[in-house]
């Protein structure tokens, strides 16, 4: 049985559980088996009475409404880790004033097809607010779905909540209550240290602190860096065609031209140096095509060619000096002609990972798309419409987005393209509803 193949419910983070060996192998670690198969165990009863030590855990078949899976990782689904998981959850709910019963966290078994998978389960406590819609916790142990619900419950319990304007209550619920998105995580992290001091303050001061989160730069993530893993198209690469003396930026060199053919019918040329320049490395042709595959279709339609440049951007020294950013180097250029240039870097520097590569391409082509589609005057037409949406939404997807309207569009396009098909998408739809509605219309 390979439990790594277990299907993750759609409402979870969408991140597949770590592929691991079967639970039986945990016996190699010398840990006693504490949980036996308990076919027919009434999972609902387990909600009321967690198993006592030594007792077999319940079989959780279809995850009863109030049960969350804290971990399915066979490395940790053992009783000796229970106290660690209990401490983790306790810390999360306690910072929002929530009480915690250690018995609510227990070992259980989950049906995975014909097999059983040992899990660490938790019965939701009603005083923590509504049950998260994410039933299986993300494998990063951030407990963000629990944190989100507990934060909202904690804030609602403050006398000052009633003093928060109704329109802002909805915004704060979405800011603090997003279970998986990065904006909500940042908002909670901003409020968390302030929260313990709030109950002793007058209600109007409590309300002011809460409303102060809206529009605060400190309550936003630096960049929109949601995981990009929603490629809706596949691609094939042609055999390379040799090109003599291709005019790369800053240097002529022999090149190879590939054609990436995407399953939506798009064909994009990718040019790579025949041989890398000594001391430099760059993304592969396949990685460039992968980034293209992860673009929203409208962005991809704007790209004619990707050039993996043979040398670093010759403008780097000038720009680094002129704009007071010593050592900065170009990563990507997106041009009006539909050409995206990706620059190499010194082999001693690690290349940006897949998420940066995909996300940067969404962001940069988002600029090209918006200027070409909406025109050059960012105070008129669709740009003005977007500005109205910004004013109505009040929240931005990142601090970087607040630089100007063009960055707000590009960063929101990045969040949109990154989360499509995942639960975070609907969380952003609630966070920046007007902008999301506009993008749904413009990018569909």
């Amino acid at each position: 049985m390979d439990i790594g193949q277990a299907k993750v419910p759609k409402e979870s983070g969408g991140v597949p559980t770590k592929k691991t060996s079967s639970p039986a192998r945990t016996g190699n670690r010398g840990i006693r088996e504490q949980v036996r198969s308990t076919e027919g165990y009434d999972a609902q009863a387990a909600l009321l009475r967690p198993p006592t030590p030594g007792e077999a855990g319940p079989t959780v078949k279809d995850l009863p409404a109030g049960v969350l899976i804290l971990s399915s990782d066979p490395q940790y689904t053992d009783k000796q880790y229970l106290s660690w998981f209990r401490d983790q959850v306790k810390a999360k709910v306690a910072c929002w004033g929530g009480a915690f019963d250690p018995a609510s966290v227990y070992l259980a078994q989950k049906s995975v097809g014909p097999d059983k998978q040992r899990v660490i389960a938790m019965n939701w406590t009603a005083s923590w607010g509504t049950v998260p819609s994410t039933k299986e916790m993300p494998p990063d142990f951030s407990w963000s779905p629990i944190d989100a619900r507990a934060a909202v419950a904690g804030v609602h319990a403050l006398p000052g909540w009633a003093e928060v304007r109704a329109e802002n209550q909805g915004i704060l619920d979405n800011m603090l209550g997003g279970e998986l998105n990065l904006v909500s995580r940042a908002a909670r992290d901003e409020l968390r240290p302030k929260f313990p001091g709030l109950p002793s303050k007058p209600p109007k001061d409590q309300a002011a602190t809460l409303e102060g989160l809206i529009g605060s730069q400190d309550a936003l993530p630096a960049l929109s860096t949601e995981e990009v893993s929603t490629s809706s198209v596949t691609f094939t690469l042609s055999a390379p065609v040799a090109v003599k003396d291709y005019e790369f930026r800053g240097k002529k060199a022999d090149a190879e031209k590939y054609t990436a053919s995407f399953s939506d019918g798009t064909r994009i040329e990718i040019v790579a140096p025949k041989a890398p320049e000594a001391g430099l490395h760059s993304h592969s042709v396949a990685e460039a095509a992968d980034a293209l595959a992860n673009l929203p279709a409208r962005n991809r339609a704007r790209v004619q060619r990707v050039v993996l440049n043979v040398v670093t951007n010759p403008d780097d020294p000038t720009w680094a000096a002129k704009y007071h950013r010593p050592g900065f180097h170009s990563y990507m250029t997106a041009g009006a002609s539909g050409e995206v240039t990706i620059y190499p870097d010194a082999v001693s520097n690690p290349l940006p990972d897949a998420n940066v590569r995909r996300g940067s391409m969404i962001h940069e082509t988002g600029h090209v798309w918006s200027y070409q589609e909406w025109g050059t005057d960012t105070t008129k037409g669709k740009w003005a419409e977007w500005k109205k949406c910004m004013d109505s939404d009040k929240v931005s997807v990142s601090r970087y987005a607040t630089a100007d309207i063009a960055e707000d569009v590009a960063e929101t396009v990045r969040a949109y393209g990154s989360t499509k098909g995942r639960p975070q998408y609907n969380e952003y739809k609630a966070l920046v509803p007007k902008r999301w509605a506009m993008l749904e219309k413009e990018l569909q």
Partner: protein, 146 residues
């Protein structure tokens, strides 16, 4: 004494070599039809590599450094003043710069207001990276037997 002279002169010699190389590269770039004779204009932005004359001024809105200024095309390099879009050289007349500690974006616009290109620069790896919250590692409760 002789060594000291060499040490003092070396940076100047290096600069000369770099300047010669830069001039050579730009001159090569500007070998298109219609390029004005003589090399003096080819190192600055007055003319495109194809010989088109720049409208004259480049306005920069540098939000990353909270400043705004004008430059004459002749005060900047040819590469700063011109962008090749397809087969055509377009004059840069407006530059917008945004950024934070880890990132800089340079958006360059043409005479008709259109976006010519946008470039993202990133911080060198020696700068403190923005680290995600470390993933906690579960630890067993070794002392407990329940």
């Amino acid at each position: 004494m002789r060594q000291a002279w060499l040490a003092g002169a070396l940076p100047w010699v290096m600069c000369l070599v770099v300047a010669c190389n830069a001039g050579f590269a730009v001159a090569n770039q500007g070998a298109g039809a219609g390029a004005p004779a003589g090399g003096t204009h080819m190192t600055n932005g007055t003319f495109s590599p194809a010989g088109d004359r720049h409208p004259g001024r480049i306005h920069t809105v540098d939000r990353a450094n909270a400043r705004e200024y004008d430059e004459a095309a002749e005060e900047v390099s040819q590469r700063e003043a011109w962008v090749k879009v397809g087969d055509t050289w377009k004059a840069v007349v407006r530059v917008e710069v945004v950024g934070d500690a880890g990132r800089l974006e340079i958006r360059r616009f043409g005479n008709d207001g259109s976006l010519l290109e946008t470039t993202t620069m990133v911080a060198p790896p020696s700068a403190p990276p923005a680290r995600p919250t470390p993933v906690p590692v579960p630890t067993p409760d070794r002392g407990s037997d329940d």
